[in-house]
Symmetry: C2
Subunit: 349 residues, 2 copies
């Protein structure tokens, strides 16, 4: 049995089955909170906001003040790495990210070492948060996974990824070179985050969906494995949570091959799939429908109880299957956190 | 052993493992063929085209003349049923389907019997095709599955389905009533297709993705099961192929509970998942990436060989994981069909 004073999230990631699972929510910080919207309005743009440790630390801590969540996740974005490698990244209001032309890949390879230094603000955010957060609550660092980041870098925006999938077929050597650059930059970035106070590291593969098995092995499994191995080779033992969102049954391939401690499941994960992953010795995380959180009510309560019943018998972290929707009522989040933790929650801060 | 003169597709659906699997391609008829574009330009709109038996039969047969495919699929659309139930449906050029306001559900329930008669042109298309098609080539009828059709009826267009998923949470009784109307109309429509010459029936659940397991059971598994049972109760024994596209690991739930003979798999199906479904006594179909067909070349050949090797040891129908893309070179389709059938194909008709 591990130390009961150890943060609940880390006990779960160490393989412990807890009497009640830890809970945190993807996008728990952000647009669903009025205090975030007030804070965000003071920054000139979203990328500048992410690179401002004072503001980003405040955004990270806002949901922690409001709800008895078991973990904070550093406020940042999956597209900070392309920016640090020299590709222009900006956000069009109401539309999402836009990226400039894909830089020469060999030139980006020469920028990998310097890129981590250009992300030092995120390390400072982590230090600030860790200094304020209670010791029993864990702090999570993260990065976008290489394939997902590459889809944005190739297509220049959010998309259905068919351009990136076609690129993978038509320019296999270029894609592999780009993924290698991203693996290296991401591993260094995560080592820096661990050294700055992150106690768990999450790899967001937001666009694992629709990939054929051989492509999935090549662009998802291989790069994730390489990142974890590089971080371990740097002497960092911080546990990993991998999130191959939309991978369907390929999540089993992922859990089998990638040496992460936790596997985050998306909304459509079946009870059986989750139990199989637990059976592979992994902690699972997930997978309440974010639209059901937004809808709230007794249907949500019933599903929460169902998830706790189906997966709570093994190492499990309660979470959504996707991020909190911006128009989610704060009362619904309060109701969810109260139901999972058993702690009364003031809906209004 | 079944009759070797029986169409190869039907032998596979009867559970036979063939020395080489039958092949047909989703959207084998349509925009990738120049002769289709010429034909289509003569019709005033897409819905009128689908309701014109002469034109629809010609579109169905065009790929059969060009390639030695083992099955034809009737040229029609998954949104013909809402039209037959009284909801306005039209296609915006370059944008896709648009639907008028969702009619009162009780009123649509009163239109179910009449709706099949309003779709009689599709029966006539099937009769025309069956009369021209060689006996060793099978003819497939199809319908959009209730949940997928309901997402269009609720949202008024193609979408990310979040509106329909929210509707499922917030208006569960209305959704269930709408699905019941669609189950009834779809079962009648498929009975009519079988009586008009369809030798296999495919249910296209194009939008099974992103559903939580309990929702999937309710809006996909339940309605599919009800349709197959209603068709069987009408004395029709025509085999079914179910296609819960994007269902991920939930395909196993589907195969376990829905009494279809064949389960079509999408692009991301793993080798292991396919073999598990075969192990459940089902014939599987799929799942070459349609973007790899468009890209063509040796990478496509290698993947085709891989699919044949991984699934050809059980009952298997070769197909794509999604429809042929409109800009797919005809030469790539020829190369694929030649590789699977071993029959030389003239690339140009």
């Amino acid at each position: 049995m591990t130390d009961p004073k150890k943060p609940r999230l880390l006990r779960a990631l160490a393989g412990e089955t807890l009497e009640r699972p830890p809970i945190w929510l993807m996008r728990q910080a952000g647009r669903s909170l009025p205090e975030y919207r007030a804070l965000r309005s003071r920054a000139k743009d979203f990328i500048a906001f992410c690179h401002n440790p004072e503001m980003a630390a405040e955004a990270t801590l806002q949901p922690m003040r409001r709800f008895p969540l078991d973990a904070a996740i550093v406020f940042a974005d999956i597209l900070l790495i392309p920016g640090a490698l020299g590709q222009k990244v900006w956000f069009e209001v109401g539309e999402g990210p836009r990226l400039g032309e894909l830089p020469d890949i060999a030139r980006m390879a020469g920028e990998v070492e310097a890129s981590t230094g250009r992300l030092s603000a995120i390390g400072e955010t982590l230090e600030r948060v860790r200094a304020e957060l209670e010791p029993e609550r864990a702090l999570i660092g993260f990065a976008g996974a290489p394939w997902t980041v590459a889809t944005y870098m190739i297509e220049g925006r959010g998309s259905d990824r068919s351009g990136a999938r076609t690129y993978a077929y038509e320019n296999p050597e270029k894609l592999d070179a780009l993924l290698a650059v991203l693996v290296d930059a991401t591993a260094r970035y995560l080592v820096m985050q661990a050294k700055s106070g992150a106690q768990a590291l999450k790899l967001f593969e937001s666009w694992a969906e629709g990939l054929a098995e051989d492509v999935f092995e090549r662009v998802v499994v291989g790069p994730h494995k390489a990142i974890v191995e590089k971080v371990r080779a740097a002497g960092v033992t911080t546990p990993f949570i991998g999130f191959p969102r939309g991978a369907g049954a390929l999540v089993e391939n992922y859990a089998r091959s990638v040496p992460v401690e936790g596997v985050a499941l998306d909304t459509q994960a079946s009870a059986e799939l989750g139990r199989r992953i637990q059976g592979q010795g992994k902690t699972i995380q997930g997978a309440l429908d974010n639209l059901l959180l937004r809808a709230g009510g007794p249907a949500m309560d019933a599903r929460v109880d169902g998830l706790l019943a189906q997966w709570g018998g093994g190492p499990y972290i309660f979470n959504l299957g996707h991020g909190v929707m911006p128009d989610t009522p704060v009362e619904h989040i309060a109701r969810l956190v109260e139901r999972v933790t058993g702690k009364p929650v003031r809906a209004v801060a």
